[in-house]
C-alpha cells in the first residue's frame, strides 16, 4: 500500500526524496520504495523518518484499515 502521508509530509517540508534520504542516511531508492509501498521499513527506520519529517509514527505509518 502506498504511503501517501509520508509523501505529503515530505512535500510540506519542501524536501525532495534525495534530501530526505540524505537526512535519514539511506538511499533515495529506499525512500522511493517506502513511499510506493514496495518496502516495509524497520521500526528504527520509521522512527528516523518521523524525526526527519517532524511527525509521529501514527501520523505516517499507522494503517487506517486492517
Amino acid at each position: 500500500m502506498k504511503n501517501i502521508r509520508m509523501k505529503v509530509a515530505r512535500i510540506e517540508r519542501d524536501m525532495k526524496q534525495e534530501d530526505l534520504a540524505q537526512v535519514v542516511g539511506i538511499t533515495r531508492q529506499t525512500i522511493g520504495l517506502i513511499e510506493a509501498g514496495k518496502y516495509n521499513p524497520s521500526l528504527k527506520l520509521c522512527i528516523a523518518i518521523c524525526k526527519a519529517l517532524g511527525k509521529t509514527l501514527d501520523e505516517l505509518f499507522w494503517e487506517e484499515t486492517l
Binding site: 509523501k7 512535500i11 526524496q17 538511499t27 533515495r28 531508492q29 522511493g32 510506493a36 524497520s42
Partner: protein
Amino acid sequence: MRDLIQDERTVAQKRKIASETCNLLLLALMIAMLVQQFVLNVPFAHYAAEFICFFGACTYLLIRNLASGNSLYNRKNTGFNFVLLNSLVCGFTICVVTGIANYSRYGDNATSGIWLITLAITFLCGTAGAFLSFSILNYLNSKKQKNIENKLDEEEDKLS
C-alpha cells in the same frame, strides 16, 4: 493472523548467517586456489572447480547487485580518481603476488635487470587491466543508478 506474520528477527538472523557462510566459503575457495597454484604448483585442472565456483559466484554477486541498482562501493564519490586509485592498488597487488611466485620458481635464472623489467610490465598490465574492469563496472553501476533516479523522478511527477 499468527500464521501470516513471520518473525522478522529470526528471518533477518538466518539471512545474516547464510550471508556470512557465503563469504567464508568464497574466502576458503580463494585460499584453496592460491595455495594450490603458488605453494603446491599443481596444474590448473586440479583447482579448476574452485576457480569456476569462485569467479562464478563473484560474477553472480556483481550482476545481481548491478541489476538491483545497489551501489557497488560504500561511498558517494566514485569518479575517475577513485577508479585510478583502485587500479593502482590492484596493479601493485598483482605485481607483488606474481613477483613472489615467479621468484620462487625462476629466481636462480634471472638477473636483477630482467626482474625489474618483468615487475614493471606486470604492474603496468595489472593496473591497465584493473582500470579497464573498474571503469566498466563504474559505468554500468552509474548507468543503472541514473535509470532508477529517472524512474523515481517520473513517479514523483505523476503523483504530484
